[in-house]
């Protein structure tokens, strides 16, 4: 289907059959085999594996904290990581399972109470601990439909831990260290990971709030620095592949403009990061197929693609103005 896929014009004809849209590049960008970790991060991961401690990652949004878990799980052959999205209401117990009390009440009132496991949904760390055991050891705890593929290790990603109240990190300590949990709703049964199959825990934080010292002490810590220009070029090449049909001039221009927008002097409230530049470069490639350097000699590039780089209305205006200045300076 030719671009634009959607015109938004009155009187447009509805397609007779579903449109043949391009496959999302997002999946390609986030493929774990294309993740490029810096040397410090590699060492930190290996230290965490060696010592069996959780790995705490900080860094600007978009620097690849979450992707690291996928890359790690892929390289170690552990499948997809089990992910826990932290919320401001999260408690440590939510890491393991949630219990549907309402459904249980409903079942109690309708008189169809089963063994109780049907009201349980195991979450990331709980699934990982279950998976670290043989099926025979945990079969009585599994709800109907739960697929158990253990015993094996898992990678657990606890994303954006700083969103949660401070108690979350404190409560997390013992559970993560001991790799066990209890289920009071099932008679306070204790579920513990086989020591040889203990999950690998990766915790990320955007550093919006400080974390308790006690929690920090239990973790292996690494701050992913924002890559410099050369390294970012490597990351782009690794994630997106070589720039077929695009020359070095395009990459130079793209990085030049990107770092201009990132500069604090430009005044963006939310500065674009690695994820944004990857999406932007991919978008330019799709928007201008066959054009060596879309950033040269085109007036509509900024308007069409700036939304990939900035996320707010205020930032959009600032970014467009900075882009315009950049074009004039560079004669683009």
């Amino acid at each position: 289907m030719p671009y634009p896929f959607y015109t938004g014009a009155p009187g447009a004809q509805a397609a007779a059959r579903p449109a043949d849209l391009p496959v999302s590049r997002r999946a390609e960008q986030t493929r774990p085999d294309r993740y490029l970790a810096d040397a410090g991060l590699v060492d930190a991961v290996n230290v965490a594996l060696l010592l069996g401690q959780p790995l705490l990652l900080t860094g600007e949004p978009g620097t690849g904290k979450t992707q690291l878990a996928s890359s790690l799980a892929w390289e170690l052959g552990l499948g997809d990581p089990l992910r826990f999205e932290t919320k401001s209401t999260s408690t440590a117990g939510d890491l393991f399972y949630t219990y549907d009390s309402l459904a249980r009440f409903h079942a109690a009132q309708t008189g169809v109470l089963g063994k109780g496991t049907e009201f349980i949904t195991f979450n990331a760390l709980g699934r990982a601990i279950l998976r670290a055991n043989a099926l025979s050891a945990v079969a009585g705890l599994l709800p109907a439909g739960h697929v158990h593929d253990g015993p094996r290790r898992s990678v657990v990603l606890i994303d954006e831990v700083d969103k949660a109240p401070r108690d979350f990190a404190n409560d997390l300590l013992n559970e993560v260290e001991g790799m066990f949990f209890r289920i009071p709703e099932l008679g306070n049964v204790r579920v513990e990971a086989d020591p040889s199959m203990q999950p690998i825990v990766v915790v990320t934080s955007n550093s919006e709030k400080s974390l308790p010292d006690a929690f920090l002490r239990r973790c292996i810590y690494y701050h992913i620095p924002f890559p410099d220009r050369d390294r970012l070029a490597e990351v782009i090449a690794a994630r997106l592949g070589k720039f077929s049909g695009k020359g070095q001039a395009f990459l130079d221009d793209a990085l030049d403009l990107f770092y201009r927008l990132r500069d604090a002097a430009t005044g963006l409230r939310k500065r674009p990061a690695t994820a944004e530049v990857l999406g932007w470069v991919a978008a330019l490639r799709e928007l201008y197929p066959g054009v060596d350097n879309p950033l040269a000699g085109r007036d509509d590039v900024a308007r069409r693609s700036v939304s990939v780089l900035v996320k707010t209305v205020e930032d959009r205006e600032v970014a467009l103005a900075a882009w315009d200045r950049w074009r004039k300076e560079r004669g683009r």
């Binding site: 810096d38 040397a39 410090g40 060492d43 930190a44 290996n46 230290v47 965490a48 060696l50 010592l51 401690q53 790995l55 900080t58 860094g59 600007e60 949004p61 401001s88 209401t89 408690t91 949630t98 219990y99 009390s101 309402l102 009440f105 009132q109 109240p165 401070r166 108690d167 404190n170 955007n206 550093s207 919006e208 709030k209 400080s210 308790p212 010292d213 920090l216 002490r217 239990r218 292996i220 810590y221 690494y222 701050h223 620095p225 924002f226 890559p227 410099d228 390294r231 500069d263 604090a264 002097a265 005044g267 963006l268 409230r269 939310k270 500065r271 103005a321 315009d324 200045r325 300076e329």
Partner: protein, 1138 residues
Amino acid sequence: MKPIDRLAEELPDFLDDLRSAGYVIGVDQYVAAGDLLLSLAARGALPDDPRRLATLLGPVVCKTPAEQDEFRLRFTQWVEGRDPSVGSVTPAEAEDVGGGEGSHSTGLRGDRRLRSYVAALLVVAAVAMLVVFLSVWTGRTPETQTGQGGGVPTTTASAAGKGSETIPGQGGLRPEDAAAPRPNEPNGQAGASSSASVSRWRSRGVLALLPLGIFGFAAWKVWWFVGVRRYLARRPARSRADIRSVRVRGVRESLFPRAVLSRAARNLRRRRPAEAVHLDVKATIDRSARRAGQFSPVAARRRMTPEYLVLVDRASFADHQARLYDELVGQVEAEGVAVTLLHFDADPRACDPAVGNAGSAALAPRDLSARHPDARLIVFADASVFIDPVTGQPASWAALFAAWPERALLTPEPAAFWSGGEKALTSAGWAVLPATAEGLAVLASRLNGDAAEELPPAPAVHRLPEMLAGDPLRWIDRRPPSAPEFEDLIASLKGYLGPGGYAWLAACAVYPEVHWDVTVFLGARMRDRAGRPLLRPDHLSALARLPWFRQGTMPDWLRARLSGELSVPHERAARGALTELFLTALHAGESGTTLEIAEDRPRVGRLLANHVFGRVRPAQPEESPLRERVFASFMASPLPRRLTVALPRTVAAALFSTGRPRRPDRLRRAGAWRWLAPSASRRGTGASGRYRSPLIARVAAASVVFLAVGAAAFLWNESRDNDGVGTPGASARRTPVPAKAPDSGAPPKELSDVLDKVAQNATGDNPDLSARQKALIATAQGVGALAGKASFGASAPGTKSEPSPTAGSPAGAGGVANRPPTKGDAPAKGSEVATQSPPDEPVKPSKTGPTQVASNVPPPGPKASDATKLQPIHREVADRIDEAWTAIAELFVAAERAGRVKSSIDPPPVLDILINGKADDEAVILSEIGKNEPPMVGVSPEVFGAWFTGYGRTPGVEALKNVRIVQPTKGLKEFFDRRAQLLRSSVDQARKGVRPLPNPGDDSVQRSQNAAWYAVARAVVAAQDAGLVNTSIDPPPILDILIDGKADDGPAVAAANGKQQVYVSPEVFSAWFTGYGKTPGIEAARDLRMRNPRDGLQAYYDRRAELLNSHLNAVRARNGAKGDGAKQETKPLEPKKE
């Protein structure tokens, strides 16, 4: 013992050091670090280079990005210190472990490598010099050695023929040969028979002196270079390696009552109930059962640890008041209270994003409420920050903080002096309490529902004097107030602080910097008459509210006065306390208050240090501490002066030469003998293994001693041989050769290059020259003409009107030494110093300038070159700019009526009136000009530029001789800080369309000033929105926008980057030297110069005068204010001839 075992054994020492440096390290980290090494060793994965362990151990012990960055450097230093065989890390290796934006370890390692190269070069040079010297000393010239080996008769022997035979094949000169005459000797008489010996010795001497001189020169240059690097490395840029944290006991404990804080922390920690998202099963069953089975869900309750969002008003990074509150909060945090601390500057709607790295934008209340929705809010600030000055009620935006149901304001104002502001906030739901430990304790009780706890009776305190509270920035001005005001100030301070507090204030004035650590330590060590320490919470709170302690700077006029007020015992106590501070820091253990002390460098001699300092200082940027008079005398003066504090030599030697402060046990183990032992054997022998010897200094010192001894011996021998000979040649040899004039008058390189081009192309039209170079040539020729006029050297005649081909050139005007002295001369110590690159000679706008220009150069002035053309003001912003000029003119008229316009330039300075509400530089110039020698006066950048473009009007003042931009430390920084503050707030208002309402107490000038700022901000906003503002400074230059309609220096500055100097307006230039430059990679001193009159500045000021005068006339005509006085203020005067 295996290396890994040794490393594992010594690692706890290293972790100890990290812990004392503030790293969060517990037993877990000690165990984990050991486990890691053993695990790696067991797998054979230990890296060969122990420095590679940095990225493996770092994740175990680091918990913040800053620690992660610093750890690599610390660990590398430790490894290299404990094992000298480990070389330096290569840049590639550094890149491997760094990699992020802003990694700077490469520079430090490069510096170390450079030292090694220089040291090796010196050693080689010394050895070569020794060989040559010995060959001469033993009397074997290369010629005679050749004769000896080859059997060739020497020329001397064959020509002698006077009974002194030389044996062929043996050669060499016998002692009697020294008296043999030579055939071609002009004087072959017996009386001059010794001339041959002299000549021979002369040739030997030349041979000896040649390498001596070369080596001496090279050594001197290297020494100078190293000295320069060391001086420059003291403060700026990569200062992390130069700042050492040490610990002092017993200070923090005195700041707040420990018991009160512990009680407060306990209550602040007390968990509070909160609603959970899941059901309380038992309660739900119970309630459902009570309701006959009807499902009645009950949400579970949970108790959660309360979190606190603390906002502290901080006026500057050295704000003592903010630091006091930081300490207060830090102490309860250390007791387990969950705190997020942020700072704001006067406006709590914009907080610094101190925590996190999600961007540099300020955090608004909505950002904070999204991040900390359930937190309790505590604000440490004066109530006035939330109060609308017009209505006296909480400002409309204060409702944004209602997002936190539990919020409190802890105010520095003592409860006895609370007024309507505090009461209004109380009515608006704020808990208002004093910002003390007791106030915090009461707040903690109330948050837990215990309203019974009341504030204890506060000690008797005085209200902050009105003269300090009303206009605090006035008192940090470098210009002293009038004598009556000064006396009022002193009397107010004495009354406000009391005898003890006043003595403490005076003691703080002794040290050149207002520094929190020093202030607190002085208070802890000084005693009042009753023998109690002056450091008490009420004293410190009162002291911290003073403007000098909030802004972190104290002007010299006040320092001198306060130091003079100290009694002899108090002064002795203050100096003793400062000495004790360093000693205590040196001997302190791991606990206590952290102080940061700049690392000194080993000194190779006071004389050399002063010499280096004298050479370096003129080249430093304005904001450099090397150019600050008090600091300069502190650095260079051999004896402590009134305003300086000398660091005891023993303390300095022990403290600084090691590379870091040592702990007492290590001090004992590192005995004095270590300082005399060879450096190589000493490295790594200390307990911490981190002592680095100043190898290069020792090699250089040894070389110099060797040279001096050799030269002395040679000269002694020569004079002994020549005694009694009395030849003219010998006499001439002893005559001192006139030393070359020091190269102190060298102009900037670009100007120097252009001067060279002038010499080559003065009469011809060189097509290779760009328009800009031609303009510079015109400037240079003007400078050359000025040099001739000022009688510097043998300048060619007639340079005033018709420059000769050599005028102003290095050859014709006597070279570099004959160039004008204003371009780089070292000023007299203690005097005002010239700016980095002042514009050249004042130019008369239309009359005299063109006559100084060679025929092949475009005439100066507005149309001198393309670069000097001013673009028309953008149409879209022209209206706003016109409104701004009108408002400025109205401000001037109002200020003239109030007698606040007494400027040395005409028309008067816009920035001064906008920022200070007055333009009184003439009075300052006239009052200062008689005091200083040389008579230089610091003025604002705008006034400075006006003087150099023919708009100065005060008789008796000469721009070149008398006028300089005021130094950053003497008022320029404050001037630009205030400019930034006012412009930012005004732009903010302009963007919101909120016109500032006049305050009830404002006079006409203040009202006009507010209106002018608003109009200026609208012009700036219009220019920004039109895309006409692309500047290298933030906030943007006001005058550029008002005069040019745009501010477009950004691209040019960005393109500089060390390759080419960029010329900018006075406002932009000064903003860079006061910390408002924003283009990365630019070093102001290296890359920026102020625009020359012929390169655009003249046109710029002409246009400024045209705009301002026309608007002034219009406003006066409208107001009917055509009095003589007003006319006199703006009557254009004939530019003064220099």
